[in-house]
Symmetry: C2
Subunit: 104 residues, 2 copies
């Protein structure tokens, strides 16, 4: 590929290569969740890492952060159209991984 040419595969790898990014999106595909619900679903993630990952996902346009004025105040994270559009890709990852990696 030529220098500075846009390569959608490389750019997508840059985003999806972040393991937690993908697992957060995978969890949100089943519906919006609060911070603590997400944390409980993601075994081993620290609050600091989850918070940082969610901010990046909001910034990149894949996750929507909704604050409902209470009481009680609640913050819910859900996928935008861009995030939901990763469903097929994540399903492909799931099926490739199930087929080739589980044997080890």
């Amino acid at each position: 590929m030529k220098p500075k040419e846009f390569c959608p595969v490389a750019e997508t790898a840059n985003i999806l290569g972040r393991k937690w990014t993908l697992l957060i999106i995978y969890n949100l595909l089943r519906g919006g969740k609060r911070f603590n619900e997400l944390k409980a679903s993601l075994d081993g993630i620290s609050s600091k890492t989850l918070s940082k990952e969610l901010s990046a996902l909001v910034e990149e346009g894949m996750v929507h952060r909704k604050v409902s004025t209470g009481p009680p105040v609640a913050v819910e994270y859900s996928l935008t159209e861009m995030g939901r559009d990763l469903k097929e890709l994540i399903e492909s990852m799931r099926s490739w991984g199930s087929k080739w990696l589980d044997k080890k």
Copy 2:
């Protein structure tokens, strides 16, 4: 997910998250290549990195290294069935990236 449970999405992300890994496979989808041909196709990769990546891909079972006894001796890298099976996934990445990332 429970501790130690196998998650195909997380495991696949661990492999595909390596940007060069994916680009090497993407290049080899069009057919086997020699080291220098691959290096020329991957803008910006160093010989050291390409060599390391190829060894990992051979070890993981995605790439086959074929040495033909010469003269001249030639080494060609090609995809195994496991590697070729990533085609659909990489095409999904390409189409998602083209749709959502090129606008920046």
